[in-house]
């Protein structure tokens, strides 16, 4: 080959790597590769870099299943909120009745200051009564009357919702909600909500009288006049707070609400609208979500359908949030879930079916064997939140993800197996990863990495012949003909009686054509 020729052929290097060469030119270039060290080195260098970069990018982009689940729910919530902005949705929200209603959700020990402010009339400064009449609506249909007091906590169990009467005003507390009503000063009532959801219905205000709700950190103040509205506020302090959920929501069903932030921003929220403030500070006024509207009416009309409310609260609620405050009633909240599991994402998918008791690993295997992969994935991911180092769970997750066609997810899970399992189990995972790269993701460079590592491992290689064959095939796909040939020959010579050898011979013949 002349120097001029060689120069020209070397110029095809990029085309070769781009897979832009026609079959004949490709063959010619591969012949050239057997002679040209420069091109061979460049290709090897390039494929090594590309493979390493791809692996690195994938690894850096990995998020825990829990974080992904939260992000997914947040995305769905944001999306349905945006959809609610469409004119089609706007039409579907009819104006509601009068009287002022406050719907509040506070998480994690935050509190609400509920005041009557700007009241010019001295006789309106009379303190609210010190006793509070409470009606408890149980999920089993029973209704009880109890009495609470200012300054003492009023809490709802997971099985009930409360309706408290404070003077002319009414405060509804959702299941698991907890609050304290106490006198703050003569002109105001302080309502401290420790946990959960409440909705407040306040008697109509006159003249300049206002109804003021303030978040515990005093960052947000909601001022309303003759308005029916709801507020959701998410405290910002501890680990249980879902940082992706909206920080504050004010939903107005009638009248107008004014929301003020200490940093100077103000928003006007009109009937059938809601304000959503994200943890980032981004804020938007949009049409009220149907779920918020339903929660208001369910809380204030508890007899209508007590269990319906918990169903709504149990849903990943776009407008409200997806904290475990909104967890469903006892059937699913027994055990250690909810408060004692920091970082556990709210709506961890549970399998359908009457039995929500913990699923054993053996059962998970059975499910996967029976094709119930989606169920298995949900249960395994939930379990992994508690046992992130359980390599068998990661392995089962990888298997089930592979079976549902989530190959990238399977790769991630196998990587976890490799990082956490026994050497032998880790090496088996490398083999499986290699197969996915090879057959499903069509990333031969990554397949080469995995099969090479599998073969380099000191553990007994039950699938050595197969791995050699797959490695050779991946190398062939990458254009590494020489090493492909070497590995395929090793299969045919040293594992001649295997099915892999038959395959390897076929491929070698193909290469010779």
């Amino acid at each position: 080959m002349t120097a001029r020729n060689e120069y020209n052929v070397c110029r095809d290097l990029h085309k070769y790597l781009d897979r832009d060469l026609l079959e004949s030119a490709r063959y010619g270039f591969e012949q050239h590769l057997t002679e040209c060290r420069t091109c061979t080195a460049a290709i090897a260098q390039w494929t090594t870099f590309a493979g390493a970069a791809r692996n690195d990018a994938t690894q850096q982009a990995f998020r825990s299943p829990a974080a992904e689940h939260i992000a997914q729910k947040q995305l769905e919530a944001s999306f349905s909120q945006q959809q609610a902005l469409s004119p089609w949705h706007r039409r579907s929200f009819a104006p509601l009745m009068a009287t002022a209603v406050v719907l509040v959700c506070l998480l994690a020990g935050a509190a609400i200051f509920w005041t009557r402010a700007n009241d010019p009339s001295p006789k309106q400064t009379a303190p609210v009564p010190s006793t509070v009449q409470i009606t408890r609506f149980s999920m089993d249909g029973s209704i009880r009357q109890t009495t609470g007091h200012q300054g003492t906590p009023i809490a709802a169990t997971p099985n009930e919702q409360l309706l408290a009467t404070v003077g002319k005003d009414r405060v509804a507390v959702a299941p698991k909600g907890r609050m304290v009503i106490k006198r703050k000063e003569t002109t105001s009532t302080l309502l401290a909500l420790n946990d959960g959801w409440i909705a407040c219905q306040v008697a109509k205000r006159h003249g300049s009288r206002q109804f003021v709700t303030r978040t515990q950190d005093k960052r947000f103040t909601v001022v309303v006049k003759g308005t029916r509205f709801g507020v959701q506020y998410q405290g910002s302090s501890d680990t249980r707070v879902d940082e992706l959920s909206p920080l504050l929501q004010v939903a107005v069903t009638e009248g107008i609400g004014q929301v003020e932030e200490t940093q100077g921003r103000t928003w006007t929220v009109s009937a059938a609208e809601q304000l959503v403030v994200q943890p980032s500070g981004a804020a938007e006024v949009m049409p009220i979500s149907e779920q918020n509207r339903t929660i208001v009416s369910s809380l204030l009309n508890p007899s209508s359908a007590p269990s319906a409310l918990t169903d709504i609260l149990a849903q990943p609620n776009p407008a409200l949030d997806s904290s475990d405050k909104a967890s469903p009633p006892p059937a699913l909240s027994r055990g250690t879930k909810t408060k004692s599991s920091p970082g556990v994402s709210p709506g961890i998918p549970r399998p359908d079916g009457p039995d929500a008791s913990p699923v054993s690993v053996a059962e998970m295997r059975q499910w996967i064997g029976a094709g119930r992969n989606a169920d298995a994935i949900a249960v395994i991911e939930a379990r992994l939140l508690k046992e992130p180092g359980n390599s068998e769970l990661w392995r089962l997750l990888a298997e089930s993800k592979r079976k549902v066609g989530d190959y990238q997810g399977a790769i991630v899970a196998y990587q976890q197996v490799i990082d956490s399992a026994s050497p032998q189990m880790a090496n088996a995972a490398r083999y499986k990863m290699g197969l996915i790269y090879q057959n499903q993701l069509h990333q031969p460079a990554n397949a080469i990495t995995q099969f090479s590592r599998y073969l380099a491992d000191g553990e007994p290689q039950l699938l050595r012949a197969e791995a050699l064959y797959h490695l050779g095939r991946a190398e062939y796909n990458m254009g590494h003909k020489a090493s492909a040939r070497a590995h395929l020959n090793e299969v045919t010579e040293q594992h001649s009686a295997t099915a892999a050898a038959v395959q390897a011979r076929k491929l070698l013949q193909q290469m010779d054509l």
């Binding site: 791809r54 990018a57 850096q60 982009a61 992904e68 029976a370 989530d406």
Partner: protein, 199 residues
């Protein structure tokens, strides 16, 4: 979630989204979020992992909004990565406005050591630092094409489709990027890696 869940194709899920199915968007997110993050994190190595997550959310929100205009003859991946590319560029412009970056004609990032996806949970190896340094030495346009090629495995024609530029332009950029990688002063690390693995 039923035992007999039929796996819907990406395209079918796009139809579901266009018809108002929010959960379908969630499914697409679970399928492709990692790939999108991998792309964004590499295209903009100076992004914090938090920013990468934010931009990824933006990408999928845009995807949901665009579902109605999605044509089924279009390759879903190209559609998704086009959005990702646009959102990543938006982010870079915003960052530039915030003064975190200097900008030449090519939106080249002035590398900020220790930033980028280095904050991600994965451990930052020497190898991955080197990859990052090499990527950061490229112009934005070159890096973008390179990432779509090696991380997402797209061909030149597919990349042209994603970025809405001529295939010839893609090839030019890719070849320059490749040459730059191979000539990078850290490229020796690959030679070492090769000499260890090749007999």
């Amino acid at each position: 979630m039923t035992p007999n869940t039929v796996v819907r194709s990406d395209e079918a899920l796009m139809t579901d989204i266009a018809e108002g199915d929010t959960a379908a968007l969630g499914q697409l997110y679970m399928r492709h979020s990692q790939a999108v993050r991998a792309m964004i994190g590499y295209v903009a190595p100076a992004m914090s992992s938090h920013d990468v997550d934010d931009v990824t959310q933006e990408v999928f929100l845009s995807l949901g909004k665009a579902a109605k205009s999605y044509r089924h003859e279009a390759l879903f991946n190209a559609f998704l990565f086009r959005i990702a590319s646009n959102r990543a560029r938006d982010w870079l412009r915003r960052s530039w406005v915030r003064g975190r970056f200097t900008k030449n004609d090519d939106l080249k990032i002035v590398s900020t050591p220790g930033a980028g996806m280095t904050a991600a949970p994965g451990q930052q190896t020497m190898l991955s630092q080197t990859i990052r340094q090499i990527l950061e030495s490229l112009t934005y346009n070159h890096r973008e094409v390179l990432v779509l090629n090696i991380v997402q495995g797209l061909t030149c024609d597919e990349i042209a489709d994603v970025l809405n530029i001529r295939p010839k332009t893609v090839r030019t950029r890719l070849h320059r990027a490749r040459a730059a990688v191979l000539q990078h002063r850290h490229a020796a690390i690959w030679k070492d890696a090769i000499s260890e693995t090749t007999p």
